[in-house]
């Protein structure tokens, strides 16, 4: 127990020579889950916290999570963004129990201890007691009882936080590939167009793998093939950060390999149907290229999405070993006109829990989880594209990015 709290995990040994095979135990083990909170989410990683545009004014705050730790993100009087653990230094109550708001200071309602917007304890109710009775003794120093702070960096309107002093600067953490990938999509000030979330009945890592799994796209999601619309072919490619931790997957409007898909895809009735209203497939080029799909994953749990004109960030929150929640924040640009907003709303039918080309991702993770629990030692296999963790140009038929995720997980977990 104690040992676990120090973050070691003596009992678990990685059972294979590399990360091309993974034991099902990683999805079902309660102890591993607990260690992950310490060594992954509270370790040397940058957790996505929120969008800068969600807290534009001084005093604006939003509550969020890093792993399963509740977090407050707040903009202070100087306009700087601060992130603190949402746990009062006194008895541990949530300091903010509303999803968002604007405040002058952070007051915990339980005993009215007050913190400034940087998390410093500024006032303790009845610190001098009543009529000279009760209250604090001199040994109590406010400076020793602030909220636990995270280091914060903002990049292209995305707010990230880390618990660790050792985490390298965000740009280095992301690496050049991802930095330019984010640059490509988030080219202008962002505007939130809406929210929704999706509950997965599976361990958080299964959804992360799903996003890094460029292999499944046209095989699991057969909407394009079924309706014979322009489709994200298995061409395009993936890029992987040097660390192996992050990746991006993209497809362009060049259907070289359709026949191969036709040859492969046994399940979907090829072009048997047509969309009566193809509005939602229309792509208004706005990013200066004709990349139709671009999925970026930033370790551990952020996804940045461009699918035609659907822009979104997806934040994954672990909810115990068997469940996770994906919070979708659908984006537009500040300068979208009404027509563009309506177009984004229409194309949004493609994504999310009800999305024509994404709903299946909600189901498959739960199917793995159910099958996983009965045999913890059995191994998955990820042989696509060999065993290496390397980019792939012209084909997305590789599991390299998933292998890269496991490299990152093992490095954090020291397993």
């Amino acid at each position: 127990m104690d040992t676990i709290d120090r973050g070691n995990y003596p009992d678990f040994v990685w059972p294979y020579e590399d990360t091309s095979r993974v034991p099902f135990q990683v999805y079902t083990d309660e102890e591993l889950y607990r260690v992950e909170q310490k060594k992954v989410f509270q370790g040397n990683v940058w957790n996505f916290l929120c969008l800068e545009s969600e807290i534009p004014e001084p005093g604006d705050y939003k509550t969020t999570y890093a792993g399963d730790t509740p977090i407050i993100v707040v903009r202070d009087e100087a306009g700087d963004i601060n992130a603190m653990v949402n746990r009062c230094a006194h008895k541990g109550s949530l300091v903010c129990y509303k999803p968002r708001g604007n405040v002058k200071e952070l007051a915990c309602v339980y005993h009215n201890w007050v913190y400034d917007l940087r998390g410093n304890l500024t006032a303790v109710a009845f610190r001098r007691g009543v009529g000279g009775k009760g209250g604090l003794t001199d040994e109590f120093k406010n400076s020793e009882h602030g909220l636990q702070r995270l280091r914060v960096e903002v990049f292209r309107g995305l707010v990230f936080g880390t618990f660790s002093e050792k985490t390298e600067p965000l740009a280095d953490y992301l690496g050049d590939e991802l930095v330019s990938a984010v640059d490509r999509v988030l080219i202008k000030p962002l505007k939130v167009l809406g929210y929704y979330s999706q509950i997965f009945k599976n361990n958080w890592k299964l959804y992360v793998e799903n996003n890094k799994d460029s292999y499944h796209a046209s095989l699991l999601h057969v909407f394009h093939n079924t309706f014979g619309v322009v489709r994200p072919n298995m061409g395009g490619g993936i890029k992987i950060s040097d660390s192996g931790w992050h990746h991006l997957s993209y497809t362009e409007r060049t259907d070289i390999s359709d026949d191969e898909i036709v040859k492969e895809n046994v399940r979907s009735k090829q072009d048997a149907y047509s969309l009566e209203d193809p509005t939602l497939m229309e792509h208004k080029l706005e990013l200066g290229d004709n990349v139709t799909n671009n999925i970026q994953t930033i370790f551990p749990t952020l996804v940045i999405q461009q699918i035609l004109n659907c822009l979104a960030v997806r934040q994954l929150i672990p909810k115990g070993v068997n469940e996770s929640e994906l919070i979708w924040t659908i984006l537009g640009f500040e300068d979208d006109d009404e027509e563009m907003i309506q177009h984004r709303v229409a194309t949004n039918n493609l994504v999310g829990p009800a999305g024509f080309i994404s709903m299946e991702d909600g189901a498959v993770g739960a199917w793995v989880q159910r099958a996983a629990k009965s045999d913890r030692e059995a191994l998955t296999v990820m042989p696509m594209g060999g065993r290496a963790i390397e980019p792939s140009q012209g084909s997305r038929v590789t599991e390299a990015a998933v292998r890269g995720f496991w490299k990152g997980w093992r490095e954090c977990m020291e397993i």
């Binding site: 167009l193 929704y196 997965f200 969309l275 829990p353 024509f356 909600g362 189901a363």
Partner: protein, 165 residues
């Protein structure tokens, strides 16, 4: 099928006709007669599923949006032919019909619903709760939805949402 005589067009029968419309609508979905679902809407009718959070914050995004018969039919075709999901059924409760206004033949109403989802192995859950915010028109003696906005109480969808609500 015995329907409320439409000429008896006073508040009493109107309320009952709308009750019948709502009942017919949910049974059509619950009985998996989804190919009939588009017929509950006018040719240029609009259907959307959003959340109370988006609604109250004035955010435009919906989980589902259909405008015009084509998009309704595409939803059902995708559900039948393209999308993958574990078999499940719906059971709707609908109540608290409130007629907000009537003008130029458009009846604005609001009702509450709860929706129980059952998976093929028998797992049952309260999948959704919320309200229907509707604009109803009389289309030669038949009531149809010019607009049905589904406002979910929760932002959370368990697993996926493929069958219309």
């Amino acid at each position: 099928m015995a329907s409320i005589p439409s000429q008896l067009d006073d508040e009493v029968s109107l309320r009952l006709r709308i009750d019948a419309l709502n009942a017919n609508y949910v049974h059509t979905i619950d009985d998996d007669r989804l190919e009939d679902w588009p017929n509950f809407f006018t040719a240029d009718g609009e259907y959307s599923i959003s959340t109370r959070e988006n609604h109250e914050m004035g955010l435009p995004i919906c989980l589902v949006q259909c405008k015009g018969t084509g998009m309704f039919r595409d939803r059902i075709t995708a559900l039948r032919q393209a999308n993958i999901y574990e078999p499940h059924t719906y059971c709707h409760s609908v109540s608290a019909l409130h007629i907000s206004s009537r003008s130029q033949g458009v009846i604005a109403t609001k009702s509450n619903f709860t929706l129980v989802r059952t998976m093929s192995e028998g797992e049952m859950m309260l999948f959704a709760a919320g309200r229907y915010v509707d604009k109803i028109v009389d289309y030669n003696g038949e009531l149809k939805f010019a607009e049905r906005r589904v406002i979910l109480e929760s932002r959370r969808i368990d697993t996926l949402l493929v069958i219309p609500i």
